[in-house]
Symmetry: C2
Subunit: 408 residues, 2 copies
Amino acid sequence: MPVNYATPAAHQLFPVAGVRLGTAEAEIRKKNRRDLTLVALDPGCTVAGVFTQNRFCAAPVQLCRDHLAGGKGIRALVINTGIANAGTGEPGMLAARETCAAVGALLGIEAEQVLPFSTGVILEPLPVDRLKGGLPAAQADLKADNWHAAAHAIMTTDTVAKAASRIVAVNGKKVVISGISKGAGMIRPNMATMLGFVATDAGIAQPLLDNLVREAADASFNCITVDGDTSTNDSFVMIASGQSGARFEAGSDAGWDEVKAAIIAVAVELAQAIVRDGEGATKFITVAVEGGQDSSECRKVGYAIGHSPLVKTAFFASDPNLGRILAAIGYAGIADLDVGSVKVWLDDVLVAEAGGRAASYREEDGARVMKQAEIMVRVDLGRGNAAAKVYTCDFSYDYVKINADYRS
Amino acid sequence: MPVNYATPAAHQLFPVAGVRLGTAEAEIRKKNRRDLTLVALDPGCTVAGVFTQNRFCAAPVQLCRDHLAGGKGIRALVINTGIANAGTGEPGMLAARETCAAVGALLGIEAEQVLPFSTGVILEPLPVDRLKGGLPAAQADLKADNWHAAAHAIMTTDTVAKAASRIVAVNGKKVVISGISKGAGMIRPNMATMLGFVATDAGIAQPLLDNLVREAADASFNCITVDGDTSTNDSFVMIASGQSGARFEAGSDAGWDEVKAAIIAVAVELAQAIVRDGEGATKFITVAVEGGQDSSECRKVGYAIGHSPLVKTAFFASDPNLGRILAAIGYAGIADLDVGSVKVWLDDVLVAEAGGRAASYREEDGARVMKQAEIMVRVDLGRGNAAAKVYTCDFSYDYVKINADYRS
């Protein structure tokens, strides 16, 4: 059960003019499930993406980078679940290329105009013939209001489909933003076993979109952690079709701030949904670190807390075990941290200051906060003005169960 | 149940002349258990230690550093379990000082000649009056053949007492080495919720002992990880009484290599015992990384594998999920790693090469190795001659259970 998250209904996911989606059953790894998604883009879209930093990055990730850099204009995305096509060596690259070629032939575009994405089990070969066999059905299914179906078709261990949508009015025009994401484990910064796709019918010049996709990732998908594992396949892609008529060339353009804020809000919602549906999660935790000398050290502290199995099991147990939080702050890697200046709150409850438990702290106040489904851990490092947030979940029996059983 | 580990019997733990140990029930946190250990050292011992890098280091750790630096000669150690006296601010420092003063008064030595150690729950105040109340009984119990009782008295969540002992003959003299350790969770490099004490009746000059304690820690306690959490209280202390008559001033002295090797072997045995008794552990895993450009990058890869909850749950499930191991190698932080040169073995089974699964690999071979209680993951990075080892355990339901229940 995800923490305070339900998939938006199909009619709340607004179609984005210029973007059509279709899904099909290709039996990539299992029968009787939609595991193949095709996204067709009208000519004139700008597309930008950020990808995993894992050196064992998957074959499709390498092709995505190549095709985006190639500058031929992206006209389609193809996404399969079941098999990640990672750690598959040269045969994996050939399978990814063959996938793009097949999509290109089907849609009458070049293979280099296709971005491929795979998610699922690592090291297993991609059954490219079955994937190709499913493409015509996915093509036949292409339509603009298929976001809901696509959100379902990209799931792996996710228990709910993840999607978000916004409409903003700018410069007298209506701009639509819709997105989907997937991922539940192997989640950490830079980035996760996660796929995220956000499309808008605003027109966004390529340099502006390139910056936006990085800024949005830093505020969303790069702020989440479930288990500290960075996957081989993480990808976050933005598409701007321009068909709303609203067009942005520069950050100073009128209306850009509103559109940008709405796009980032969709990315944050999609990223948080991954944590809310984290494998075995029973609680959603925001770690807000402030008072740092720079945002990098704030993130270090946020991730030390967010990754600590001891902290996460204490959250699972609703145990206000503040010592584990302080210990994580202490080993986060700030060599000259003065622990006497550090303050820690659980929601509104000051729990630690001056190197130890706050004099005003009462265990029952901490216990009250820890019982909540959503908890804010706020840390003031007391040495500057920088801040950063990390979103995470607790660590339960079910995390072990899910990951001990995943392949069986 | 620890993995392939049983506490040596009392008679296999050899007394170290010049070192006497006594234990008592002080009701630090619970009744009816020996939770206080006193170690009395004859005059003339050299003592050296290494301590946690955690910025929230506990009050006793700060005092240990001060007293070792003070140069008055250490004459006693006092160790309590139940309460860690960490995150306790100025009152915690006062409690640790009061403990040392009480031991000093009892033994007729200065407070600055006492090293205090605490382990247990963080952020709770140390009941220093109860601790002091237990000291006379511990003093009355002091004797040279009490290593077994001391190994038991320093336990917290440990399921077995951890101890090791060796006798080596050098230069016509018999040198005894005995040690004890504790710790089961919050274990990671630099260092763990772990206490380790090793004593020898060899005489070792202070500079030589200072180097040895670091070298031994790097080969033992700094190579282990259970959950990636570095505690506030980690301490590893070596004592050299000199009463065997064998004395070493410099690394070039005859017999030193043998004594040093035996001392390091005891430290490694004590450190590995902590992993074998890791919270919820069902398997003992050695991650041996070779072919690196330096030992630092080998350790990075070793720890990425050893810390990954996905890898550790796969070991728990006896699932040869090689993809998770490759993913961990890929995100370990070697920016220019050529994954095509990496090779991975599970024991003698080559499982990955050339960026993917080895052609010769058969799933049943991997499955056979994964069922074992002891597993070697060997990684060749293919870019140099450096190597490093990390010892870890798997990640089970019981880890979550133990840590969700610890305070209750």
